[in-house]
């Protein structure tokens, strides 16, 4: 057993503090992320997890909590939780226990949620997060498996709620961070990184719009150096941007109360993204007595060390490892490596472009041109109209000097819109960069002959050279090699 880590192990940097007339404050944030497990069927039943099916069609008699129905655990959900634990460099508990968490709500037909309380499947781990000026380590306290509830729809009728149990019993991983986060930006970066890791592992698709990844956000404030203050929990925030907004609002609300001499009451709050504020869910207060006890329908969850080793041996390369390898193998900057490894598919695309080519040019074109364009058009890299081979072809043409950067951008547009082989397009449309010095010299001579006044000026003002380069490029239809034009003009005009 490891000694428990101290709970309070990070201080906010002065730049992260909230300035106030009465002195500085700092935020203390911990997150409980609910991630839907990627699986075909539910945690304890054989009903489908497919999103968007007709109401109550993904429901078995187990999920509807009909009398006499017994849960049988889905081995894939267990594997997914272990894989996630391994990806978080966490302790895997080869024996864990399912408990009943009791509460009443119309979308919870059992009257309890099967969850893990005292003995979770995964214990302590950590996540490394790249912030603009440093890499921080955020502790993971635990990960446990539990059932999702059904869905209540309130806007179909003025006086009734409609309940759909399709989600009821779908497996969730609740991933609990330590209270190590000290700003909204850190919290947002934490969720992004966690999402990236889950997507790499394939254990959760991270789709926040579908509610497949959502967070409960615990926020408190304190004076620098003081012990933790009383926290409030903001439930079910379902976008990274809202997580940031909810934290900023909640910290300032608490500071306002404390500065007026008031006290923070520990409570559950909701984030209203329309109004950008959090508000109390008073009626839920009493529901906090969950009366956990071990589920008598389920034996303890036990598996062997070999079971874990087998999963470990098939784990994919994770974002931190991939990033380090990209820096080492391709010589890209740490920032570029981070951008390239945000999604596994993006990293694969880059590697397909970079393989056997100039990796720095490849990184530049993948990040700035391709990702920029995909972003603008709202496309995923997997839906890119340009293949890695095509972009690689453009990179080759830049590298061997066939086309200039300017022509390459034109070529990118053509390939993006029309497809085709870049080298054939360049041949067919005469887009080749003119490196034939004879042709460039002729163009330079023509420009010099036509502009005797400018020739006089450039002799006293060498920065005028740029104007000449521009004229020559215009004459050659943008096909002249700019470095060659520069050289020749300098020689002809007698400029150093």
């Amino acid at each position: 057993m490891n000694a428990p880590l101290p709970l309070d192990r990070r201080a906010a940097k002065p730049s992260q503090r909230i300035k106030s007339a009465t002195g500085d404050w700092e935020m203390v944030i911990g997150l409980e992320v609910h991630a839907q497990v990627n699986s075909n069927s539910k945690l304890f039943s054989g009903a489908s997890t497919h999103f968007g099916n007709a109401p109550n069609s993904n429901v078995s008699l187990v999920d509807a909590a009909m009398p006499g129905m017994l849960p049988v655990i889905n081995v894939e959900c267990v594997k997914q939780a272990i894989r996630t634990g391994l990806g978080l460099k966490a302790q895997i508990n080869r024996r864990s226990v399912f408990d009943r968490k009791n509460y009443f709500y119309p979308d919870l037909p059992q009257g309890y949620q099967i969850s893990q309380y005292k003995s979770p499947i995964v214990g302590e781990g950590e996540i490394l997060i790249d912030m603009p000026d440093e890499t921080i380590t955020i502790g993971i306290e635990r990960l446990h498996l539990e059932q999702d509830a059904g869905k209540s729809i309130h806007d179909l009728s003025p006086s009734f709620s409609y309940v759909d149990l399709n989600r009821s019993g779908v497996a969730l991983m609740e991933i609990v961070s330590r209270p190590d986060l000290r700003s909204a930006d850190e919290a947002k970066a934490y969720v992004s990184k966690l999402r990236t890791i889950l997507r790499y592992l394939g254990t959760c698709d991270g789709d926040m719009e579908k509610g497949n990844l959502r967070a409960d956000v615990n926020v408190s404030v304190r004076r620098p150096g003081a012990p933790f203050g009383t926290r409030c929990e903001i439930k079910n925030v379902n976008s990274i941007r809202f997580i940031g907004q909810a934290i900023e609002y909640e910290a300032r609300r608490q500071i306002g109360i404390l500065e007026d001499g008031g006290e923070i009451i520990q409570e559950t709050r909701l984030f209203d993204h329309g109004k950008g504020e959090t508000r109390s869910m008073r009626s839920k207060e009493e529901a906090h007595d969950y009366r956990y006890f071990p589920d008598p329908d389920l034996l303890p969850l036990e598996f062997s060390a070999e079971f874990v080793e087998e999963l470990k041996s098939h784990l994919p390369e994770l974002p931190d490892e991939k990033k380090a390898r990209f820096i080492e193998q391709y010589g890209v900057t740490p920032y570029d490596a981070m951008v390239l490894t945000l999604e596994r598919e993006s990293a694969d695309f880059f590697e397909a472009v970079a393989r056997g080519r100039d990796a720095k040019i490849a990184a530049n074109w993948v990040i700035n041109e391709l990702f920029g364009r995909l972003n603008k058009e709202g496309l995923e890299v997997t839906a890119s109209p340009m293949s890695a081979d095509q972009l690689g072809g453009i990179v080759d043409l830049i590298k061997d000097g066939t086309i200039s950067g300017k022509l390459a951008k034109d070529l990118f547009e053509i390939v993006w819109a029309e497809g085709g082989n870049p080298r054939e397009i360049v041949e067919a449309r005469g887009m080749k960069q003119v490196t034939d010095t004879g042709a460039i010299e002729a163009a330079c001579d023509a420009v010099i002959a036509a502009n005797p006044d400018k020739v006089e000026q450039v002799k006293v003002k060498p920065t005028m050279l740029g104007w000449f380069v521009g004229q020559v490029m215009k004459q050659t239809g943008g096909k002249a090699s700019p470095p060659a034009v520069n050289e020749i003009l300098k020689a002809k005009l007698g400029i150093e």
Partner: protein
């Protein structure tokens, strides 16, 4: 261990069971009688005994990740006091 009348009222509320005020005293006496009976167990020394999780020593059965069930919404809502388009219809529960 014993409980007071406030605890009886709270437990009844958590279990969503209607308990009339005049019933509380009787329930309190019954609860305490049962708790007193169970209390005998705390006289035993179980410091060396693993908590029993099953009558027989066996591993939990696991299921493959295959869709084998569902697809019968009409059966799911068949017993509901109110339903519409295969949804359960319940009194408004939004805040």
């Amino acid at each position: 261990m014993s409980v007071d009348s406030a605890t009886i009222v709270r437990v009844a509320h958590l279990a969503r069971i209607a308990v009339a005020p005049e019933e509380v005293a009787r329930l309190e006496a019954e609860f305490n009688s049962m708790l007193g009976f169970v209390e005998q167990l705390s006289g035993l020394d179980v410091s060396d005994v693993e908590p029993m999780t099953s009558v027989r020593p066996m591993q939990m059965k696991m299921r493959e990740d295959v869709v084998t069930d569902g697809g019968y919404p009409a059966r799911i809502v068949a017993n509901a006091p109110a339903s519409e388009d295969d949804f359960f219809v319940v009194p408004k529960v939004v805040e």
